[in-house]
Subunit: 187 residues, 2 copies
């Protein structure tokens, strides 16, 4: 893997920015990649939508920090899905929160779709709806292998010492959900 | 103010990234500016240094997301100060945590220096060392006027509902410290 681009979209309060920050920190501080992690806010942000991007590179410094055609798009809301689905790379990976995003309209050729009930898992199994972003991080790591699972566990432990139990539980459930989505193959 | 660039540097654990995220969110979600907020990590990040940038624009979308010559540099560590001091714009603004950063070496022409004891205030007055980033945000807002004080208060309330008292206290003490630094003039 040389340059690898991830885009995450959702609505305010889902922790989209935190998801991207923790992804970027894991990739850089632990996995040793070059990383640029970006939030861009325009007038649409005031409508409550949230977008965040991570560019990773195994080999060299990242000159161009903007995502061009993401390898992976994580959609946490219908609005984000509709806004950004067409930008996904051909044969790219789409990961959606399946209770919030229905697959509708055309997608670029060869896109692989993985459906993760992240918010449902966070709410029902973890008991903390706000942990849906950590569930999704676990699923992302296992589906894409772009960041290491052990690195992600360590980063989550270091970053949230006071909420480590909740977040590690969310992470492990996300990893399981990702494995199940992988096993059931492309949908 | 058209394009306005801020760079923040420190070490891991000081909340440099969070500071930039909250600054960017306030500028965009509340103050209505265009904002790009970026973390770039290279091999130096593994040594524990942390850098974060915010570009704001009142009028138009931000095409070039990288900071070129920051209008403001907030230095929370000596290593960050030494690495980035030369990049500051002429007549720019330098804000340092005065217990962590000594002014040494040359600075670009006309730079205004403001010294804020952010970590000391967080530790002694707030009782939470980790709140030094919120203290610094308050000082930044009052010194530069780049983000609104009321917007910052609102953002801090919305973002940390569980720690609102601590963070609002840190913010108000930071605002006071910024006012004192402004009143004592350029040093």
């Amino acid at each position: 893997m040389v340059r690898y681009e991830v885009r995450i979209g959702g609505f305010g309060g889902q922790g989209v920015v935190t998801m991207a920050v923790v992804m970027g920190e894991t990739a850089s501080l632990i996995d040793g990649k070059y990383v640029v992690q970006t939030q861009s806010y325009g007038p649409e942000a005031r409508g409550g939508s949230s977008k965040s991007e991570v560019v990773m590179d195994d080999e060299e410094e990242i000159d161009y920090p903007k995502v061009q055609r993401p390898d992976v798009f994580i959609a946490m809301s219908r609005a984000a899905y509709l806004s950004y689905k067409d930008g996904l790379k051909e044969n790219g990976t789409l990961i959606v929160d399946e209770d919030l995003v229905e697959i509708e309209g055309d997608l670029p050729k060869g896109v692989k779709i993985y459906k993760i009930p992240a918010t449902r898992i966070a709410e029902k199994d973890v008991g903390v709806k706000q942990a849906s972003n950590v569930v999704m991080l676990g699923a992302f790591a296992v589906i894409t292998k772009a960041i290491s699972l052990d690195g992600l566990r360590k980063r989550v432990e270091d970053r949230w010492p006071r909420f480590v139990k909740t977040n590690l539980q969310a992470l492990e459930l996300g990893i399981k959900a990702g494995e199940a989505a992988l096993a059931s193959g492309e949908k």
